[in-house]
Symmetry: none
Subunit: 190 residues, 4 copies
DNA sequence: GATGAATGAGTGTTCATTCAT
DNA sequence: TATGAATGAACACTCATTCAT
């Protein structure tokens, strides 16, 4: 239970960097400073390790997301919080959150697997939240009139696109949260 | 009976779907309806196959992108064309273009490899184009005053984020091009 | 029947240079200036090609060797002729003769195969000839008294050792025939 | 239960018997009583295994050969010791020493490879030693007058030829060392 | 708990050979 | 006869995983 805390971040980092298939158990053990078989004490295997990392990421992610659902502020405020949530998250735990938004490894593609289920749930929840938000905003006149579903998808693309660039360390610009928020606000608020 | 032509789309599809490492040569051969060794007739190996797919994608991509550089229209027009270019491209060749925008396999990460070099070139070229465009627009008053570099990155995130969702078949909404263009226009044009 | 003459020397050369297993049929076809499947018209396969080369080499070799058996000259004269035969042969057809004296490919090691049979026959015949020769020479006082069997083996080692060095192009010294003959003569003739 | 020690002799035997290309890793593993992947635990691959066997053989061989260089005895005595060295060696370690004297696999033919470098060094060192020896002997009148270089090559051919026959188990005669020594002595000493 | 040794299953790749034309 | 296209069988090698200690 002691070394488990070394393994998870090491694995998360390598998975995020090289993909699930591109990462070997021996790489993980070296990065974690343990021997290879030790991985099999706290985890059933490579799949399980991956799954647990993802699940931990998802758990925290959904906790934060759920807190947004019962939102009392304006529609724009809610979108702003949504953007903040994701941008803050990817700064805190770039590997876990990047994995959360990346594709499932091919071999874990069965629809009952935690990986697929959660990724689907995440997309649905994000979509629902944004649709609700946009509908509210358009109805109340807070937002200009936009096609709801398409705009929701667009904002998801913007958020996940940025997280991807950030998670892969391709983009390291600071202060993007405010810029993104303003960008969306100008587009939606009349 | 030239089965060689089946290999490229089959491989592109699988690579886009499962990643480079997650795709086996035998999967490719089955998807292409040929036997495994036939892959090695026109291609030197799995790496070469991947490289050639990417290179073909990049060649066409850069051709289209270069055509945008000497643009005579307004700044917004140019951004619109940029969005159109990418959205049209990903509709035409979802697999190839998705690969073009996805990450390099870990093992092909040496900086001289076509894969890395082109992906870098692509990001640089996109950034340069957008920065130029935004500077023009802001200077002429066509656009509101925005932080140039950050906004360029944001638009790249939006475009690539969308292409990713689209390339992975996660999102299949039609008519997104116009919605995206309008979304950006409202944000930038006063 | 036309291109067969191109294939044999090309194959013989490559087999001698790289060994049977180290030589591929495509190398042979290129060296012979033909396409790969053409090899299968005059030959049943790679094994057969190898066998035929060996057989041709052996046929000529045994022809020459048989001519030595009914020898009328002195014992030393006969040994001299034996040395001459081998040294001349390896100069004329270095590849074929080298193969003749080299090891059988592992996969052709069954004792009924032409390859094994001939190599055995060759060693037996050489041994018989030398034993006969040495016995004659010792009995007649032409030679000093030497252990017959061992000396026969030694001369075989000398001859095959030289042919190997020569066949592999490791040694390219000229005029070795006379030197070898003299070397043996001084050792045997009192 | 260190099965690693079984691998080297098993591999040496098979390599000597069937050549590098003719020997498969699965054959080696079976002969060593281990499973195939275990070969890759102590060795980087088939090439490395081959190289290490050769290197061990060469190291011991050169150690023994170097001991002969500073020789105080007569020229004939030195040659006798040289013959003894080789004949004793091939009796002790028939596989390793046979490999040491056999040809490099075609694919390891680059001139910097241990294999090529050592085989060259061996030939040069043997040649130098014999030339020196013969020159001494001829100058002092211990030997009859012989062409130095050619005779050196001849003795090398004799020694390596014998080692080959012996290493390949083609010839199993005992007591050859004395016979060979006498054979050479009679030829050189007046 | 911890590890060095070991392995079953599979991967990319090569090669001798055949087939359709 | 000749060849481009195609393949079955094997090869060296890797990897996630387990076992003996």
């Amino acid at each position: 239970m002691n070394k488990k805390q070394n393994i998870i971040p090491a694995a998360a980092h390598l998975f995020a960097d090289q993909g699930f298939d591109g990462t070997t158990t021996i790489q993980i053990s070296r990065e974690a400073g343990v021997t290879e078989p030790l991985i099999y004490y706290p985890f059933k295997g490579k799949d399980d390790l991956f799954t647990q990392i993802l699940e931990a990421g998802f758990t925290e992610y959904f906790n934060r997301l759920d807190a947004l659902e019962n939102h009392s502020g304006s529609a724009m405020q809610q979108i702003e919080d949504l953007v903040s949530l994701h941008f803050a998250f990817v700064d805190e735990k770039p590997d876990e959150i990047y994995l959360t938004f990346s594709t499932c490894p091919a071999k874990l593609n069965d629809p009952n697997h935690v990986c697929v289920r959660n990724i689907k749930r995440q997309r649905e929840q994000l979509k629902a939240l944004l649709i609700n938000c946009l509908e509210r905003g358009v109805a109340s006149g807070e937002f200009v009139s936009v096609p709801i579903l398409e705009t929701a998808h667009l904002i998801i693309a913007l958020i996940t696109g940025w997280m991807r660039l950030r998670g892969l360390k391709i983009d390291s610009l600071e202060g993007m949260k405010a810029v993104a928020t303003e960008f969306i606000r100008r587009s939606l608020v009349p």
